[in-house]
């Protein structure tokens, strides 16, 4: 058993990032307390479908490399990601896959028993490993099983159905650091504090800010918002990925994975506006495969922001959507049904289950929806010693990895500040940080970044705890009053919310569910595919209105046992703040880059905006969400136009020099 004075680490969130961190840290002999709102096996990572990227031997022999994976990620993200961490991630990717393989993930296999690969957006090489069409589920389960192993040994303690409410900080100025959390048991409603020598936030994305998205119901971003309100910086919030292919639904929009296109799916609409024939009756020549036409090289596999804008343009601006509605066909019917079942069974079932048509025989109807947050809690890292700018000149994609790109050269192995927020001892891993995906995430790179964070940066957390401040003064040696007052502050907030039950008149104005819905609708309208300064201005006022209404929010359930309304309502308040951060970044970034497209500033403007937006909370100030611009490390790959070989791209842009597979088999 654990000694009462022993050091401990808290991990908040049991998705891929949280579980990878838990296992890595427990393995170092540090006990971990793992918090999650849901049993970790049900975390949102379970939804991931398509796969996980890594350089592999087949691709390598066609001219691919870890370095090219890195290059694609940077180019895909429109140069907004700091390059060190991304290089490190790409370098480690093949080893992450090997580890998952050892854990027993049933990756799809070739007839020789090797791991099968598929094509994914933003690459011309097959470099995506997958497990049917439920890759995230399989990876999550593997890490869940390893976590359970440590749990059975008493090294991990799970707090499932506990909600993180706030980080606890000790000290002032440079000494200020995170030493624990306040959390609430979602069943008994008990609020209490927990001590820790380091706290890792691995709480995932914030899709629910948009109401309907592809995310799970717990992805409110509430936890990130609470850290932001406690002083952690939030970066690139405006970078929200809208996935091109989802199935609109009453409760959520279900994703149709990019792997459908990776395996050969084609996007089209009838060439004739309002053509109401059955899709199978429309001859090939009368179908408009607009992505293939505009992007002959990448075709249906252009990155998501591009595919999304093209679909949006076809439907919303040109009114060419199927049946005059906002929908296009995603067509797999030209392919062998058996093959499709084997490769894509899981997602085709989702479509069939929720829409009623079998996509193997009827083209799917899809439309873009909010999917992923590239932005998140701002984090730091220690750069490795690799200096390509002086040693290797301009790298060209497709070149062999320069000497010196071996692991440890992009981000220093085991550095205690890797993926630490601006608050000492408070880390952010996985989707909740801003570090790897710049202005657009490439498909199948998120699972990688989550697991990489957990493993690679988890190492640094262990170092921090064992060798830095916490070693001199562990949290267990601190005054109890510090922890008690943090818990009672949260108790007061909860009590205040509970006290609103039955106060005043029932009205939509103050109904938390109505406020939440209006928030989602407003954010979807103003802060997604196409943004304008004017619309963002309206959005800012609407958010202020919602915030004011939230001050008067009226809870519908006074229960002191398992009160889900309390939890939801609290998160609505936190989501409004996060929405303000997203809107602020969207407004101030007067350019278009990756997923952030401003109709009034349609071009990328590196001279002014090759910068990270960093927002800091100053409660009550006139400028409450204070925004500043951070430098971006572009030392390895120099920015080039991001056209993906579009045929009508402006003539003045230099053609991309992108490596292609040596053989096209």
């Amino acid at each position: 058993m654990v000694m009462p004075n022993a050091q401990r680490v808290i991990v908040v969130g049991g998705g891929l990032a949280g579980l990878a961190a838990t296992v890595r840290i427990a393995e170092q002999g540090l006990p971990v307390d793992l918090f999650s709102m849901v049993p970790v096996k049900r975390s949102h990572s379970v939804c991931a479908q398509g796969g996980i990227n890594a350089c592999n031997e087949v691709a390598r022999q066609q001219g691919y490399s870890e370095y090219q994976h890195f290059d694609e990620t940077i180019y895909g993200g429109d140069y907004l990601a700091d390059q060190g961490p991304v290089l490190e991630m790409a370098n480690w990717a093949p080893r992450v896959i090997d580890l998952l393989d050892r854990m027993g993930v049933p990756f799809n296999r070739t007839s020789e028993g090797r791991r099968d690969l598929r094509l994914f957006g933003g690459s011309l090489f097959k470099r995506t490993h997958f497990s049917g069409a439920t890759t995230g589920q399989q990876l999550l389960y593997a890490l869940d099983e390893q976590t359970r192993r440590y749990e059975a040994q008493g090294e991990v303690t799970k707090y499932e159905s506990w909600e993180f409410l706030a980080p606890i900080m000790a000290g002032e100025g440079d000494d200020r650091r995170c030493v624990g959390i306040v959390a609430q048991d979602m069943r008994t409603m008990q609020i209490r504090s927990f001590r820790a020598d380091a706290v890792i936030m691995a709480t995932g994305g914030c899709g629910l800010v948009y109401g309907k998205s592809t995310n799970s119901v717990i992805c409110t971003g509430g936890a990130a918002s609470r850290c932001y309100q406690a002083g952690a910086w939030y970066a690139n919030g405006e970078m929200i990925q809208v996935h091109p292919t989802a199935i609109p639904g009453a409760d959520k929009c279900r994703l149709m994975s990019e792997s459908a296109r990776g395996e050969g799916g084609r996007v089209w609409v009838p060439r004739k506006q309002g053509d109401d024939r059955k899709p199978s009756d429309i001859p090939e020549g009368e179908r408009w495969y607009f992505l293939e036409e505009k992007y002959p090289k990448y075709g249906n596999l252009v990155p998501r922001d591009i595919a999304t804008r093209e679909i949006f343009d076809v439907c919303v601006n040109q009114h060419m959507g199927v049946d005059g509605e906002n929908q296009v066909y995603l067509d797999l019917t030209h392919m062998d049904p058996e093959y499709l079942t084997r490769k894509l069974g899981g997602i085709l079932e989702i479509y069939e289950k929720f829409v009623g048509d079998d996509p193997r025989f009827t083209p799917m109807r899809i439309f873009p929806t909010v999917h992923y947050s590239m932005g998140g809690l701002w984090t730091q890292h220690t750069p490795g010693s690799y200096r390509p700018d002086t040693q290797h000149g301009d790298h060209q994609p497709g070149w062999q990895a320069p000497i010196g790109t071996e692991p440890g050269m992009g981000m220093q192995v085991g550095a205690p500040n890797n993926m630490m927020t601006n608050i000492k001892g408070l880390y952010a891993f996985g989707e909740v940080n801003f570090a790897y995906h710049g202005a657009t995430r490439l498909g199948a790179n998120a699972l990688l970044s989550c697991i990489f964070d957990g493993l690679f940066c988890g190492q640094g957390v262990a170092r921090y705890v064992k060798e830095h401040e916490p070693a001199e003064k562990p949290s267990t040696a601190m005054e109890a009053s510090l922890f008690d007052s943090a818990a009672s502050a949260e108790q007061t907030k909860a009590d205040n919310l509970l006290a609103t039950v039955g106060k005043g008149k029932e009205s939509p104005e103050t109904n938390p569910y109505v406020i939440g819905r209006e928030l989602g609708e407003e954010m979807t309208a103003a802060c997604t595919v196409v943004k304008t300064g004017e619309r963002l201005g309206t959005c800012t006022s609407k958010l202020a209105e919602l915030r004011e209404r939230f001050e008067r929010v009226r809870l519908g359930d006074a229960a002191t046992w398992t009160n889900q309304s309390l939890s939801y309502t609290r998160s609505v308040g936190d989501m409004i703040l996060l929405a303000q951060v997203i809107a602020k970044g969207s407004l101030e970034r007067q350019e278009s880059r990756g997923s952030h497209y401003r109709l009034d500033f349609p071009d990328r403007d590196d001279s002014r905006f090759l910068k990270t937006t960093i927002v800091e909370y100053h409660q009550g100030d006139a400028d409450e969400h204070r925004l500043s611009w951070g430098d971006v490390d572009t030392s390895l790959v120099k920015p080039r136009p991001r056209t993906y070989g579009k045929v009508d791209a402006k003539a003045d842009t230099k053609p991309d020099k992108e490596a292609e597979p040596a053989s096209t088999t």
């Binding site: 393995e27 849901v38 049993p39 096996k41 049900r42 975390s43 379970v46 939804c47 090997d98 580890l99 393989d101 050892r102 027993g104 049933p106 990756f107 799809n108 296999r109 070739t110 007839s111 028993g113 090797r114 497990s131 049917g132 439920t134 589920q137 399989q138 389960y141 593997a142 099983e145 390893q146 359970r148 192993r149 059975a152 069943r187 799970s216 119901v217 639904g249 009453a250 409760d251 959520k252 279900r254 084997r342 899981g346 079932e349 989702i350 069939e352 289950k353 929720f354 009623g356 079998d358 193997r360 025989f361 493993l455 569910y513 109505v514 519908g556 046992w561 398992t562 889900q564 309304s565």
Partner: protein, 275 residues
Amino acid sequence: MTTQASSAPVVKAAKTRTIRVRIKRCDGPAKAQRWETFKVPVGAGANVISVLQTIGANPVTVDGTPTTPVVWDSGCLEEVCGACTMVINGKTRQSCSCLMDVFCPNEGDEITLEPMSKFPIIRDLWVDRSRLFDSLKRVKAWVPIDGTYDLGAGPTEGPKQSELRYTLSTCMSCGCCLEACPQFNLETDEREWDTAFIGAHAISQARLFNDHGTGKQLKGDRLDALMGEGGVSDCGNAQNCVKVCPKEIPLTESIAAMGRATTFHAIARWFQSND
């Protein structure tokens, strides 16, 4: 998904209509259950989740009595996390994939929602399924790797084998198979979990790990667990489990395979102890 004329629910854009939703509610452990009925307007594409959300925004029963929002468990909303399992019209299943266009296509149609009965109730439709995860510890449902550092790839395996393991590995610990099993009973006392019938879910997981190149290192431990009290021999072979599994996991095959393996294991152990 077999043929074009598959048995998939035919979902056609249904008209907006008002349905009746009967919900078995309960304020907490050891509290009495009660029924409440709601009238809910639904449109095309609605599912149990959107119905519960609608009720939550304005919780008033059919006779006009204000009540509290219904408590239930959910996550992915696409039938892959297993959270939202409940008993719907008497059958256990996931509520997120339960479409109103199929279950309540007409004005005035009724649907009933109840919590699973084999797990302790937390509140309303939310039950505590910790026992399900605990049983995964009982059968050591993991691969005993030598830590997370880079030690190369795992064992290679053929596509057939990986497809079988994939199928077993899609189990989302939802508990439908346990709810339907006549041998699996509600057990609120945690101390009894190790000897009460473990159920099809964990038996099938034991098979998954026994079938893996490295996982088989713990085969003996798993079989020991399955040979003990509440192990595989408690299965009455009613086959209810396999009929309700949403992931179509071949549970009775798994039970038979583990049954055979425990027999061999018992014989081998007998010989060893008589060496």
